[in-house]
């Protein structure tokens, strides 16, 4: 391609803060977050929507950010794992720690974001439904059981608080 590529202005709220950048339309949201905004907590895996590593919340709902173009996020709200940052561990992070819900940690940001959305949705889930809800994120270390334990305990904890914990 010899022609120059026109950029598109993307104005998006990420973890509560406004961010404005001019990007090529082909910029994937995950690369926008990592390279343009320096938020490297969101991981990249397959770049074809299979592994779920790049899961973030788009207007509160979990999506795979490799399957969204950055310009599509214009005017929307993105929540990444960095939103859980704080002096103390977020209750969800604590649940993962207590239940040994991670080993290498590569899938953890995506698991956390998927679980965070589940907590906010606040619908009671049995174990099988929980497994299905988390099926969009692959983990090659844990065998999943301890991740389910962690999320189950987090959901039980947030059930009384309307998912705001």
């Amino acid at each position: 391609m010899t022609e120059t590529i026109e950029t598109v202005r993307v104005s998006v709220k990420v973890n509560g803060e406004e961010a404005v950048r001019d990007v090529e339309p082909r910029r994937q949201l995950v690369d926008f977050l990592r390279h343009d905004l320096g938020l490297t907590g969101t991981h990249v895996g397959c770049e074809q929507g299979v592994c779920g590593m790049c899961t973030v919340l788009f207007d509160g709902e979990p999506i795979k950010s490799c399957l969204m173009l950055a310009p599509q996020a214009d005017g929307h709200e993105i929540t990444t794992v960095e939103s859980l940052n704080g002096e103390e561990l977020h209750p969800l992070q604590r649940a993962f720690k207590e239940h040994h819900g991670l080993q290498c940690g590569y899938c953890t940001p995506a698991m956390l974001m998927t679980a965070l959305a589940l907590g906010r949705r606040g619908v009671p889930l049995d174990r099988e439904q929980l497994e299905e809800e988390l099926a969009g994120v692959l983990c090659r270390c844990t065998g999943y059981q301890k991740i389910y334990d962690a999320v189950e305990s987090y959901l039980a904890e947030t059930a009384g608080s309307g998912g705001t914990a």
Binding site: P25, E61, I63, K64
Partner: protein, 290 residues
């Protein structure tokens, strides 16, 4: 793995999207949920000169009851379909089928219209549309046309859509039916190896009428098993009739060999899954659940 460059266009209305499609003369792609299109862009299997984003088109994601039909906007996302009280009561096959589609992340974004336009031969939404006898409403600048779902799919990833047309709505007839779906996949949420959906109207005497059996993953497109459906209509789904219907469905199929399964294995599965789906149909009737 990054897409080739393209121009990004955001359409604010159906008319605007259609004008853009016309302007790019077949070299533009509509972007709805992006769950099929964006992987193809990322892998550079598609390199359109423009991507037309229709996600901001208002009114394209409505679920409306209109007489004995339910009209679902093309931009309606899977999660909406899954959780729609209207659809749970009026078109339970649709809400049940959605649970076989991808995973929660995919269902947040993926759309009904996108699934039909993408026309994956193993796609669950195309299968459900055929089983339910849906009509796909397609629009271009020249106007609208309604295409029966059975005639909409021409081959793998290939439909009757002209380059300047878009799917705007899918209309489903609502009858007093019982429905069921059974799917064989290597893991839940993966692409189906084969899937079978069945719909039928219970008679007063324990029999069935207007039975429709559709199969996915067994040909270039999802198919309606026409002969099997005709055979089953007017019966009580007795085991020998079901077995014959399974053989008829097998005869109508021309399954592919791919990374997920061989053609032989798919042939082996067809009568088994036709039987399982029809047994599920019977069970549901006796439970009065659907």
């Amino acid at each position: 793995m990054k897409p080739a460059p393209f121009v990004y266009e955001r359409a604010g209305s159906v008319e605007e999207a259609l004008a853009m499609l016309q302007r790019y003369e077949g070299d533009a792609r509509l972007l709805a949920g992006g769950q099929s299109l964006v992987p193809l862009l990322n892998m550079r299997l598609l390199m359109p000169s423009a991507v037309i984003d229709v996600n901001d088109v208002p009114g394209l994601d409505e679920i409306r009851e209109e007489g004995d039909e339910v009209a679902i906007g093309a931009l309606t996302r899977y999660s909406r379909i899954e959780w729609s009280p209207t659809l749970v009561s009026r078109l339970p096959l649709l809400t049940e089928t959605v649970r076989y589609v991808g995973d929660r992340q995919v269902r947040t974004r993926g759309t009904l219209g996108g699934s039909l336009a993408h026309a994956d031969p193993t796609g669950e939404m195309p299968l459900a549309a055929i089983a339910l006898g849906a009509t796909v409403v397609v629009q271009s600048q020249a106007g609208r046309r309604a295409v029966p779902a059975e005639e909409f799919f021409l081959g793998p990833y290939y439909t009757v859509l002209e380059p300047e047309e878009m799917v705007v709505e899918v209309r489903f007839p609502v009858r007093r039916t019982v429905s069921a779906i059974a799917e064989h996949a290597r893991r839940h949420g993966d692409f189906a190896v084969i899937s079978v959906a069945a719909v039928g109207e219970p008679n007063g005497d324990g029999g069935w009428k207007s039975v429709r059996v559709a199969l996915g993953g067994v040909a270039d497109t999802p198919i309606l098993a026409v002969e099997a459906s005709a055979l089953l209509s007017g019966t009580s789904l007795e085991p020998d009739v079901v077995a014959r219907a399974g053989e008829m469905a097998l005869a109508a199929a021309d399954p592919p060999t791919d990374v997920r399964a061989s053609a032989d294995y798919r042939r082996h599965l067809i009568p088994i899954y036709v039987r399982r789906t029809l047994e599920l149909l019977q069970t549901r009737r006796s439970e009065g659940a659907r």
